[in-house]
């Protein structure tokens, strides 16, 4: 947790971001009259909060709804139902003017630094655009001064502010995107796969930069990514999504030490570790099959089609996300998961982090 988060905690502050039962359904239309024949339930009842100055990692595989959740919070897509409160202000019902003002407080960093920067604008204009829109700067000189300051903050030489995005490498373009995102001193930054398009040696540079900016500016991050190692590095808390729902949410250390939901276990065990000796000793929980279509998700627990511990109840009754142990939220009917983890046949955790879970009786 960053210092800012610690301070907020001591002050007994409310979370910066509160998401309640968020749903985003995309209608599917067919035929001449474009009648709605169904809906893709991209986000299907998601609740979480993010503490001030902390980072929540939102993870899951493609199609799980993690990116849509991030976009719905910023109202880049409209929520079908549910509530999103930023600093106590309900965002989902804001009118156009109020929303524009609220956008100062929340910004996004995109995955693809090639596609998210206008190729015909100079870096100066790209970074200055939000400053001008919100009338933070009033002249070209003022804009240039502020942009120079921002470029230095993200590790770019201000001398290059009149160049175009194509003159920069992928890592540098991502720095430009970050400079633009922090230009208005937002409270919340949603970072959607900010390093996955970058070379391995560049990813660490950007992760460190995000860390520094959080410390210096007291930023709150929603970090959306599929790379669990990067997410773990940056996040204080992690929420794991599967087919539009959160299946597990926990403080980072606890989640990796002892994943409780069978899907989290499988996900962690599927990630290869860069160490051949560790790899040879690992036991894996390999999932069969693929993620079902969000157009027609399985009834009951969405994960039941691939779950090795499936019971009759799972086929019909969707499990609630419940706090099963302090700070450990799990959506699973299986009480036994908690008890049998330490002796189970396919406990997939990494060798160094396996710990017994005797204290996790519900």
């Amino acid at each position: 947790m960053s210092e800012a988060a610690v301070k907020a905690e001591r002050a007994g502050g409310t979370p910066l971001l509160e998401v309640r039962d968020l749903r985003v359904h995309f209608p599917v239309r067919r035929g001449l009259l474009q009648r709605q024949v169904g809906a893709v339930r991209a986000v299907d009842g998601v609740s979480f909060e993010v503490r001030r100055g902390s980072t929540l990692g939102l993870v899951g595989e493609s199609g799980c709804g993690k990116s849509t959740t991030g976009r719905a919070i910023l109202r880049l897509v409209e929520a079908t139902s549910g509530s999103v409160r930023l600093d106590g202000v309900e965002l989902t019902t804001l009118g156009a003017g109020a929303l524009r003002r609220a956008r100062r407080e929340m910004q996004m960093i995109f995955q693809d630094p090639y596609a998210s920067l206008n190729p015909r604008m100079t870096v100066l204009d790209i970074i200055a655009e939000p400053l001008r829109t919100h009338r933070v700067v009033r002249s070209r000189d003022e804009a240039a001064t502020e942009v120079a300051r921002l470029m230095e903050m993200v590790g770019l030489a201000p001398a290059y502010m009149r160049r175009y995005p194509h003159e920069f490498s992928g890592g540098q373009r991502q720095r430009v995107g970050i400079a633009r995102a922090i230009a208005l001193r937002p409270k919340l930054v949603v970072a959607d796969e900010p390093v996955s398009a970058l070379d391995v040696s560049i990813q660490a540079q950007i992760l460190n930069l995000l860390e520094d900016l959080q410390r210096d500016l007291g930023l709150t991050y929603l970090f959306v990514a599929h790379d669990l190692a990067a997410v773990r590095h940056l996040s204080d808390e992690i929420a794991v999504m599967y087919l539009g729902r959160i299946v597990e949410r926990s403080e980072t250390e606890a989640l990796f030490a002892q994943p409780l939901h069978p899907y989290t276990q499988a996900l962690l065990s599927a990630i290869p570790v860069p160490d051949p000796v560790v790899e040879r000793q690992r036991r894996r929980l390999v999932l069969v099959g693929e993620v079902p279509s969000p157009l027609d998700p399985p009834a009951g627990c969405h994960f039941h089609t691939r779950c090795p511990y499936r019971m009759d109840r799972c086929l019909t009754e969707p499990p609630q996300l419940l706090e099963r142990a302090p700070g450990r939220w799990v959506a699973c009917h299986l009480d036994a998961v908690l008890r049998t983890l330490d002796q189970g046949p396919s406990v997939p955790t990494l060798p160094m982090v396996a710990t017994p879970v005797t204290s996790l009786e519900p």
């Binding site: 773990r232 290869p272 160490d275 051949p276 693929e290």
Partner: protein
Amino acid sequence: MLFEVKDLHTQFSTEEGVVRAVDGISFSVDRGEVLGIVGESGSGKSVTSLSILKLIPDPPGRITGGQILLETEAGKTEDLVRASEARMEQIRGDRIAMIFQDPMTSLNPYLRIGAQLAEVLVLHKRMRRAEARARSIALLKEVGIPAATSRIDDYPHQLSGGMRQRVMIAMALLCDPDLLIADEPTTALDVTIQAQILDLIQERREAQGVAVILITHDLGVVARMADRVAVMYAGRIVEEASAEAIFHAPRHPYTIGLKRSVPRLDVARGQRLSPIPGMPPSLARVPPGCPFHPRCEHVMAVCREKVPETREVSREASAGEPGEGKSAAGDAAAGATKATRRALHVVRCHLGDPALDTYHGHPTSPAPEAQQVDQPGGGAS
């Protein structure tokens, strides 16, 4: 030795001049072995795989030197660099098969997958249609496609990404190739599907003794799969050793830097990452001397002027243990040669081993901050 590349050079003529995409690389891979080739964008790793199959578009590309030696069925060696296009067509898909990152580059969107699979067998094995179809269905089942008997009549777009990747693997394995080249085979896939695909490749290696060249940027995938690892940078192999040695006793500052810059799931949290400063060079503008010198924290005067030669890391210095011997039967001498080859650790760096040992003692020493401010390059990465 099933397959050996010696001093291979591949160049491209571009507006910016001659690009040496592959600049004198050598490696080998034997039956049942997995060689991992690791590198970032612009390292030349994908040009390497295309060169092996002679799929480099000419012009602008050309293999300008070296040998690509494949052991023929008769036990002789054949140099593919000199082989005719007609001969290459016999070899591709039959003896050497390739899996790409994007299955749609090797699947025809207009043809049912059954037709595409059968075509390979008709062409290479002169099978009749019905026989080819039966064999195709059998293989689709082997690679884990449910309801293969009906899915075989699907078009590629009707399958999910993971399923398409399986179809491509099935296609690659149809003719029981001796060598499988997998170029970022799982990069586009989710981790749970990646695990299934890697298991599948592993299984074929164990069951049929297929040799695999696995090209990837993902150190985790390499650690999981490879017996030996070659690390590429700016068109050259800068270090090659057993997987154990690459991960536990790396000698090249680039390898060490790569390893340190990746966050790991199995070590304690809270440590700051140590990135390699700067960025990989554009192959059109490779720095003189050692191409890594502008990013290297141990740079010496000689590194700026002279390209380092490949040299062997002294045995005692290399803490890596040779991999477990494969079950291949052979006499003691052959076994010993194999063990020697497996333990071989080579590096292209001017820095002597003792200096690196000191370096190893301080794994958390920060990277030089002076170079943190990047200079714009021509969109190199």
